[in-house]
Amino acid sequence: MPAPMRLANGLLTRAIRTAAIESAPTQRLLRNTSQCRAYTQAQRPRCEQSMRSMITSQNHFSTSAILEKQKTMGQLRQRNTTGPFSWKAALLFVLTGAGMMLYFRVEKARLERKRMTEMSKGVGKPKVGGPFVLKDLEGKEFTDEQLKGKYSFVYFGFTHCPDICPDELDKMAEIIEMVKDSTKDEKLFQPVFITCDPVRDTPEVLRDYLAEFHTGIVGLTGTYEQIKNVCKQYRVYFSTPKDVKPGEDYLVDHSIYFYLMDPDGDFVECIGRQDTPKSAASVILEHINDWKREGKPLKTE
C-alpha cells in the first residue's frame, strides 16, 4: 500500500474509532474508559481490547458476525486497514458487473429482433407474404394456412436453374439439418420451395428435383396466375414468360432470398447469398427461441 494511502487509511480508522466511542455514549463505557487510565502501561492493551469488544458488542446495528469473531487486535487492525474491501468483495463486484453487462447485451439483441419483427407486422397487411393457394407435390391444394403455427422458410426458384438455385438448395438442406439438430423437434420448422416456372415444374418434376436436396422441403407449384400472385405477395421479381412453346428453352429471373416467416405468417428475416448455413441457422434459431421464450403457441405435429 503506498504511503499516502496508508496515512489516509490510518486517519479513517482513527475517525471511525472515535465515532464509535462517541456514538455509543453509555455511562458504562465512559466509566470503562476512565478506569483504563488507572491501569499501568503494561496492562493497557488488555484494557483497550476489552473496551473494543464492549463497543463492538454494543453496536448491534452495524456489526457483522465476522466482526464479533475477531477478538485479537491483529485481526481488528487488519479489518480496519482494508475496510470492507477484500478480494472477495472485488470478485463479487466484477462478477456482478460482467453478469449484468452480458445480460443487457443479450436482452438488447433480443429486443432489437423483436422490434424488427413487430415492425414488419404493422397494423394491417404484412408487407411480405400473404394468402395463397397452390398445389403440393401430391397435386393437392396447399394454402398459407397450412404454414401457420410453424416457422416457415420460403425459397423461390425453378428446376431448370443453372447454378444459383442448386447452390442455395444445398445450403437450405444444411440449414434444415442444423435447425433440426438444435431444436430436437423438426416439426416446428417448415422449409418451402415455390417454383417461379409453373409450366415446366409440375408436382412430379418438383418431387424428383427436391428429393436430391432434402426430403423435408415442401414443394409448391400452381397455375401461372397463382404463381404470379404468390410472387407478388412475397415481393419476388417475376419474369416467367406466359406462353411458352412446348420444348422451349428459357431461363427465369427471380429474387434469390430465403424468407423466414413466423408462426403467424408474418415476415421476420431475409437470408441471402452472403449467409453461410451456420449464420443462417443461428438467425433462425434465435427467432425460434425468442418465440418459445415468450410462450407463444407452436404447432409441432
Binding site: G139, T159, H160, P162, D163, P166, V199, R200, D201, T202, P203, E204, V205, L206, D208, Y209, E212, G247, D249, Y250, L251
Partner: protein, 117 residues
C-alpha cells in the same frame, strides 16, 4: 445432337407424366459445370473474354471444349454462363478500380497530413 444431353434420343425422358419437363439432375448439372470450366479455362488461355461476341474465335481456338460444353448444357445455360463470365469480369474490374481509387485517395490525404483514426 440434342441441346440437352438427357434429351438425346429418347424424347419421353424430357417430359414428366403430368406434363412437366424433367429438370437436369445433380449428375448432369455437374457435367455441365465441368464442361463450362474446361471451356472457360481454354478462353482464359487464349485471352478471350466474351464467348458470345468472339464466338468465331472461340470456336476456332477451343473447338473441342465448345463442343463438349454445348453437349453437356442446354442452350439457355450456355448463354447464361457466357454472359455471367463477362458480368463477373466487369464486376471484379470495377471493385479493383474502386479499391485502387480509395487507396490513392488515402495516400493523397496522408501526404497532406491527414491521420486515419
Amino acid at each position: 445432337m440434342g441441346w440437352l444431353p438427357w434429351s438425346s434420343g429418347d424424347s419421353s425422358k424430357t417430359t414428366a407424366s403430368d406434363g412437366g419437363r424433367i429438370a437436369p439432375d445433380r449428375t448432369s448439372r455437374a457435367r455441365c459445370w465441368e464442361g463450362r470450366d474446361l471451356f472457360f479455362a481454354c478462353l482464359d488461355k487464349n485471352d478471350i473474354l466474351d464467348g458470345i461476341k468472339e464466338d468465331g474465335k472461340a470456336r476456332q481456338k477451343c473447338a473441342k471444349e465448345v463442343a463438349e460444353f454445348e453437349e453437356a448444357c442446354s442452350k439457355s445455360w450456355v448463354k447464361y454462363f457466357k454472359e455471367k463470365r463477362v458480368m463477373e469480369y466487369n464486376r471484379d474490374k470495377t471493385i479493383e478500380r474502386i479499391q485502387k481509387e480509395d487507396a490513392d485517395k488515402v495516400k493523397e490525404l496522408k501526404s497532406n497530413g491527414w491521420v486515419s483514426k
